[in-house]
């Protein structure tokens, strides 16, 4: 790993931008009826073990990326195998987010060919990733700040459509359905932060690693809860039939016919945050590949991998519905393998090694 460093605030901004990323487009957790506002909180609670594992791994191997940690813990062959699985997941995640972005824009501009959105979005993503983590981190502070502000303004402007009675009854669905909705939030977007195991090592003040991650996630939780609450109160019964509830909210804004049709604010926030999320995943894949093959720098890999990402997004789904069904039916079982199972195995192997010091010293000798 080279000498590039990012500050703890920048890492926090990256995490916030990443978690909000495509989740402001698809707004997970809104399928729990009137209790949807609570799903983000329970979702984060369910995701806390994953976060704990990430923090633990980064604290025992400070300054190392997940690929390097895998090599150290599982040996050169096992480590490479694990890293390969992770890199596939990061790569696929990037392609999925590209799909989310392109699906969203193409439902507003139906006749423009789909690949146009993918290529245009990916061009920015590749440009951002190629410039490296420092540039991305500095961009993220600005992007996240303005997107956050935009979304906050949108939420405030919804005030005249809010009907607090929509929060009743408190339990419109069974506990099982509620936990399922929360679990979906755990997997997407909170589980996705496993990507940051590739980036945490860049932080310049290592003592602040865990506090930065936790603070960023708390901000995301507050924001997500606010967002879902306004969606419940402002969209009412129509919430569940909306594909893009956030965008539907923006479209409803109408302050006495003066402030109205502000769709573009929501759409641009959706776009910029989605681009940030994709570039983080693209950077993670490129860096991982570079480290696996012991390259000096990851920059030359960004363009080819980014292009592959576009192709992946192009071929993986036939339609928006295919994507949505994948999100709802497959992704929630597919992603946890990479988000929770593999890191847990890595951590357990590390703990085992700690408890068998004799073997370790023998092998060293």
């Amino acid at each position: 790993m080279d000498s590039t460093r990012i500050s703890s605030n920048q890492l926090g901004a990256l995490i916030i931008g990443f978690v909000l990323g495509s989740s402001v487009i698809l707004s997970p957790g809104l399928n729990a009826g009137s209790a949807s506002w609570l799903t983000v909180i329970t979702g984060v609670a369910l995701a806390s073990p994953i976060v704990a594992v990430i923090i633990k791994l980064s604290s025992v191997y400070p300054g190392k990326t997940l690929v390097e940690i895998n090599d150290l813990v599982l040996g050169p062959i096992g480590g490479k195998l694990f890293s390969l699985l992770y890199l596939w997941y990061f790569f696929h995640l990037g392609a999925l987010v590209l799909n989310d972005i392109a699906d969203f824009i193409s439902s507003i501009m139906p006749t423009t060919p789909y690949p146009v959105f993918l290529v245009v979005t990916a061009a920015v993503v590749i440009y951002l990733s190629r410039n490296g983590i420092e540039v991305m981190a500095r961009c993220s502070s600005v992007i996240v700040f303005y997107s956050f502000l935009f979304i906050l303004i949108v939420l405030i402007l919804m005030f005249n459509h809010i009907d607090l009675a929509n929060f009743l009854p408190i339990s419109s669905i069974s506990i099982r359905d509620f936990l399922k909705a929360s679990y979906e939030v755990t997997v997407f977007p909170f589980g996705d932060i496993i990507v940051f195991t590739m980036l945490i090592g860049f932080i310049n003040d290592r003592n602040k690693t865990s506090s930065t991650i936790v603070t960023a996630l708390i901000i995301c939780t507050i924001y997500g809860t606010l967002f879902n609450s306004i969606a419940v109160a402002g969209l009412g019964n129509l919430m569940e039939s909306a594909i893009y509830p956030g965008y539907n909210m923006v479209r409803r804004i109408d302050i006495y016919s003066i402030i109205t049709r502000v769709d573009i604010i929501g759409a641009s926030a959706n776009l910029t945050l989605g681009i940030l999320k994709t570039s983080v995943t693209l950077y993670a894949v490129s860096l991982g590949c570079a480290q696996m093959f012991k390259l000096r720098t990851s920059a030359p890999l960004v363009l080819p991998i980014g292009t592959l990402m576009i192709l992946m997004s192009l071929i993986q789904f036939d339609s928006v519905i295919h994507n949505l069904v994948f999100h709802e039916k497959t992704y929630i079982y597919y992603a946890p393998f990479f988000q929770a199972f593999l890191p847990l195995v890595t951590l357990l192997m590390y703990l085992l090694k700690q408890h068998l010091p004799s073997e370790k010293s023998k092998s060293v000798a």
């Binding site: 507003i108 139906p110 006749t111 423009t112 009743l168 009854p169 019964n237 409803r252 109408d254």
Partner: protein
């Protein structure tokens, strides 16, 4: 070299996209009307398109022979089919982002129902969810042909008419959002505004009054008259202005009270297994007009006027309740209030709600305040 590559990049980035919409190639629709068609399968649609060329300031308007709009009649199998078939007659593509109203003829609403007509307006990215919905007495396309005063375009005229309904509180205003929110709720019956044409001296002008009531299968089942509409508006908390006209308790004098604020709470109660709905109305009014002498300094009389307005409100609600029971339509959202407060009990009665609702015991409590007599104390006609 750098400059050339910059130009190349900009030519791609700045040249726009496939979905560009130029103003000159758009036919901006402001309203749409659906009528019954002889053959069952077809839909007949009338779209009102703004004729931008002739949309001149009102002063110049009279000198232009053509109206500033064009009512385009098309037919098709579905709403979207109608819209695309319109391009066989219109040289410009219909653009829906500024559509204001959807009018259904009463025949269509009663016989076929409006269910199949609404999907397009939710699904397409162009129309807004704030489009007003109306049912017209008689032909719907005639509404778009009316003699539009003050605003040159009938659909815009009706849209403003609906936005100003709170001044009379005798008509309901329902947009796509509210209609769908009621339809998707547990048991609330959807409603729409009701419009008709008044003809006098060969001129046809609109009258927006009353409410069209639908059942949960999108079929219109009846109407509420002006007073019943006001009763419904009290209960669903949509009444913010309006007049209560009543005889003075003292003499043969009519007085009107202007409502300045109103707030209603629906509270379902289950006592000993018996479901009961409690409606609590809080209203504030001012004395707006008296056609005879009213001694406002007489505290006793002032109190009696205040009680009088409470009685009018109660009567409004009772009348609308009676009509709703007759139609078996839960226009007030009592069912949803029960669902919100007693979700478990609601599950058991949900299926039979349509039979439970008419027999429901409803208690009405009205708290009113008469706050001021406005600018003068005594009428000049003593």
């Amino acid at each position: 070299m750098k400059i050339i590559s910059l130009f190349l990049c900009l030519s791609i980035a700045l040249s726009g996209c496939w979905d560009k919409n130029e103003l000159t190639s758009l036919a901006i629709t402001t309203g749409v009307a659906f009528d019954t068609e002889e053959s069952e399968e077809d839909i007949q649609m009338t779209a009102q398109i703004i004729n931008l060329g002739t949309l001149a300031p009102a002063a110049v308007q009279s000198s232009i022979a053509n109206p500033p709009y064009w009512n385009l009649k098309t037919r098709g199998k579905t709403v979207f089919d109608c819209i695309r078939n319109a391009t066989m007659q219109s040289p410009k593509k219909l653009y829906w982002a500024h559509n204001q109203i959807i009018v259904f003829s009463e025949d269509l609403a009663r016989q076929e129902g409006v269910g199949e007509y609404l999907d397009f307006f939710f699904r397409d990215a162009e129309p807004r969810i704030s489009i007003w919905l109306l049912v017209s007495k008689g032909s719907a396309s005639d509404i778009l042909k009316m003699d539009s005063k003050l605003d040159p375009i009938p659909a815009m005229n009706i849209s403003s008419l609906i936005e100003n309904r709170s001044n009379n509180a005798k008509a309901s205003a329902v947009d796509l959002y509210e209609f769908s929110n009621r339809q998707l709720s547990q048991a609330t019956a959807p409603v729409m505004s009701y419009i008709q044409l008044l003809s006098a001296n060969g001129e046809k002008t609109p009258l927006l009054s009353g409410t069209a009531v639908f059942n949960r299968d999108f079929k219109m089942i009846g109407t509420l008259n002006e007073r019943e509409t006001r009763g419904m508006l009290w209960v669903i908390n949509h009444l913010d202005n309006g007049l209560l006209v009543m005889p003075s308790p003292q003499d043969e004098v009519n007085i009107s009270i202007e409502v300045i604020s109103a707030k209603t709470k629906i509270e379902p109660q289950i006592i000993n297994g018996e479901l009961k709905i409690k409606i609590l109305v809080r209203e504030k009014g001012v004395l707006g007009d008296a056609d005879g002498f009213v001694d406002v300094l007489d505290k006793e009389l002032w109190n009696r006027i205040n009680q009088g307005q409470a009685a009018v409100i109660r009567q409004d609600i009772l009348l609308s309740l009676e009509q709703a029971r007759l139609l078996k339509a839960d226009i007030f959202g009592f069912g949803d209030a029960v669902y919100k407060k007693y979700p478990r009990e609601w599950k058991e009665i949900k299926e039979d709600w349509i039979d439970i609702f008419p027999a429901l015991e409803v208690e009405i409590q009205v708290q009113t305040a008469l706050v001021r007599p406005n600018m003068i104390l005594h009428s000049i006609n003593k």
